[in-house]
Symmetry: D2
Subunit: 294 residues, 4 copies
């Protein structure tokens, strides 16, 4: 199938590659054109604008960095919405605010285009291996059409509902669970360390008893190793962006989220401490700082 | 081996049974004597006091309900410490405060008795199946001596350190992780429910992606089912006791624990709402209440 | 002096009246024209648009409801900025977000117009009596020019700095102190009530010892009387708007604000409880609800 | 009247002096006898034990440091309760936990002695000037008897109820209001400082508008001056003791106290930062630290 892909960052690139691997014809666009060189070498067509991509396909994916870049790529002067055909589908995979997801939904609906939310869990290497988790929401018929494409990069595909905005809220919620698990473990590690118990010890106990999930193992491992500067680490600023969107969602639905506020404060404090660009697990160091451990 | 066991509540009973199954001779004591009938029928000797138990063995287990009952069973007028021989071992399995654990350690040391901390993770059915997790701390030599006994009920035995108090802190920490995971999921479920996403939906996504641990699956399942009144449910008051001990540990080591304070407030609020004796996962309902969902 | 005034709501009306009382000639604008009838009867000229006001004066005040209405009145198609002369002054009295205050500052600067921040503390009756507190920020020279006008409605005029945005931050901060004092007292009242001490009793002790400020007396009095529905009461939604702007300010400067987050959660919970339009002191009821007092 | 006074620390000494000034005959006791030299020089009789004091009077005051020292002075081997006559009164002025206040109430009642709670607000210089605030609770008749004595050091005397424990809860509550006001101002000062507004500026605005209470002026002044080491400063550890007792009171009545928990965390963090013995207003520095201001 001929498929569009707008936004070839680290994640988008891996996803696009998987679509190529799956035998699909790609029309792609990226702000930095050189990022697409290898895909072009493999047969992808490089378009000049998101609108050019959308004009050539019935299904276009987008994976932009944030609300603003998505807004620009979709509703900007050369955006997807400008040329996407009636009844054609825009599958948005980015992590957005609810407000932005609604703008996409309503903007596309006003043009009789179809918007599908398909947020993803996992990092670029997982995408490259076809092992992402994909959370979809949208019209049944549209989901059926995009399903075979999502399977190119997604190991499991979940259905969150008929309103595409729901894929966004579920994604924000699951991201919150990452940060709050980090804070939870940070409090445990700080207290145990101060009481003379090596965090490695309790980490080992934890992850061999009831706390065996990837969220425990993967982040806890970085925490006890104080490993905050590895290549590709998602930075504190990304965490703050996520938490802001999650708290804003709470604000829209009048839902108090006390844990989320604690996480937000930790992330702000991490930035104030100069750690803005380190892996967000560095919020561990705020618990240690508050406990006199550094 | 001839082994003592003081405190045959639901958990202690299951553990004692496993020791019998393992071929050991038991001398037991319980405040309510009839709780021990079936063990006696299987050959266990019922003593009149904890001191009577301790007099007859080189290793005595205790599994009392809390600090006060442990203090009484160990240092009371007819307590274990009164008659336990020099060099004999008291293996305490209860979840205690750090202060109480230290009193045990120091009180036994002053009598040249040996104190081993061996806190357990899991509920009575797990104990009965020999599938507890056991967290030990104490002198190497003593741990070696009790290890074969712990294996009767423990599927895995972890070493938390040489100071028996460490087994207590690790246990309190892991319990905190249960409550804080419940709060974390409660915030997620409340927000999603209010936004029109069935908590079952996000629970299913959660537990099939990065949040696959027993702590997610077991408690989350009860939460989305609003199942708070099943037999044997650990009550809110137990949760509050645990959180008080965890926060007191933070107080002793000058470690701020903001998440723990949020949990404490939820548990207090649950009690004020009349839910003191329901499963502590009912704190889910506080998040729902605050969101106008009930 | 001939002075402009844009936005004749309850507060703006009282301020405009004081300017008339002070012998100034007013050119005014309001979305709902009839609100200005009595001012016109006293000689004020009613303009068709904010731009019409600004065209006729060297100093124009604005007192709009929020960011959006201020943005529209200043930079909209018929806004103040369109016609305000170079070197003329816009004195903005509304409570805005820092982001909006910066837009005003920069937008006016780009047109060589002068922006003065002059936020006010107090309610309409205080304005009518000339007893507001005014917090100014801006260029020295401009402040000198507007000072005699501010004295028409302000009993005291404070200088917060040379950057007009500073008047906004100080105002947001002082508003936060209102809400956080309410929460503080709510926790005290709830605990004392539950322990059998009438909140009136501790309120009387409080306000006759170290807690004698208007912020204690005025809000505490409403709290112990459970008086949440009096005419002109500032609603929970207003409080939430303020707290959002304050927390966003923290977000911009990477300053954690744990108390502010607690207040935000209380306000959200009040809205979920159906109290959106009651006096924001109703957050007292959230503390009572959490304590089982209602 | 012949009056007993047990506990001549800085505060007790000033109060005792005022009783002497009022023409009363004092029988006093203090652990460190030399603290009483000047009082003895003025005619006070120095007793060997609290029991010796109580034996000689119908009204005995106590002003010990904490729960433990009060327990010892009242119910210890040579304690007040041992020899206080039936119908005689013990007026306890110390800041205690509710649990300790109840022990006093019930212990005295069991001996047909009368217990009056008379907690005090103010520091030693205020006591020396007769300007304390006194919060009383107890039987009407007993309060009448002690009233003239309380007037020796109290500028105002408040009635909190018939149960002496109520004087304790009110005192704990008012102390909480000190700490929470400090945290509230700390958040404001940190944010404003980071935004380029000198805390002195907003402090001046605050204390000349709606935030004019002693609690604002006295503590705020120390905060903006970073003055944490003046002689007689009440230390962080004292603050932590107060907050623990307040939170425990919340625990007894199932009242969540989220602000109190934030304060507790700040105080713990201050101790971890090495500030245990500095004026508790140093918690200001935790807000600054979290904001990258130091």
């Amino acid at each position: 199938m001929k498929v569009g892909f707008v936004g070839i960052g680290a994640m988008g690139h891996a996803m696009a590659q998987r679509l190529l691997d799956g035998g699909h014809d790609l029309v792609i666009w990226n702000r930095t054109r050189s990022r697409a060189d290898d895909l072009v070498a493999r047969g992808a067509i490089l378009a000049d604008t998101p609108a050019d991509v959308a004009r050539q396909v019935r299904i276009v994916f987008s994976m932009m960095f944030d609300d603003a870049s998505t807004e620009q790529a979709v509703f900007g002067a050369e955006g997807i919405a400008l040329s996407l055909a009636r009844g054609a589908i825009h599958v948005c995979c980015a992590t957005l605010s609810l407000a932005q997801a609604r703008r996409l939904r309503d903007g596309h609906a006003g043009r009789e285009q179809i918007y599908v939310g398909a947020t993803v869990l996992g990092r670029p290497p997982a995408a490259a291996a076809g092992e992402l988790f994909v959370i979809t929401a949208g019209e049944d018929e549209a989901l059926k059409r995009v399903h075979p494409l999502l399977e190119c990069f997604g190991a499991r595909i979940f259905d969150a509902g008929r309103d595409p905005v729901q894929a966004t809220l579920v994604k924000l919620s699951l991201n919150f669970m990452i940060y709050s698990t980090i804070e939870q473990m940070a409090e445990v590690f700080a207290l145990n360390e101060k009481a003379g118990i090596d965090p490695h010890t309790i980490f080992a106990i934890m992850t061999n008893t009831f706390y065996t999930a990837p969220v425990h193992r993967n982040y806890g491992k970085l925490m006890v190793a104080h490993e905050y500067d590895h290549p590709g680490a998602p930075p504190v600023t990304l965490g703050l962006k996520d938490m802001k969107m999650f708290l804003d969602a709470g604000g829209e639905y009048d839902v108090p989220l006390p844990y989320a506020s604690v996480v937000r404060d930790r992330l702000l404090s991490a930035i104030s401490a100069g750690d803005a660009n380190r892996d967000f697990v560095v919020l561990m160091e705020r618990a240690r700082q508050d406990s006199g451990l550094k």
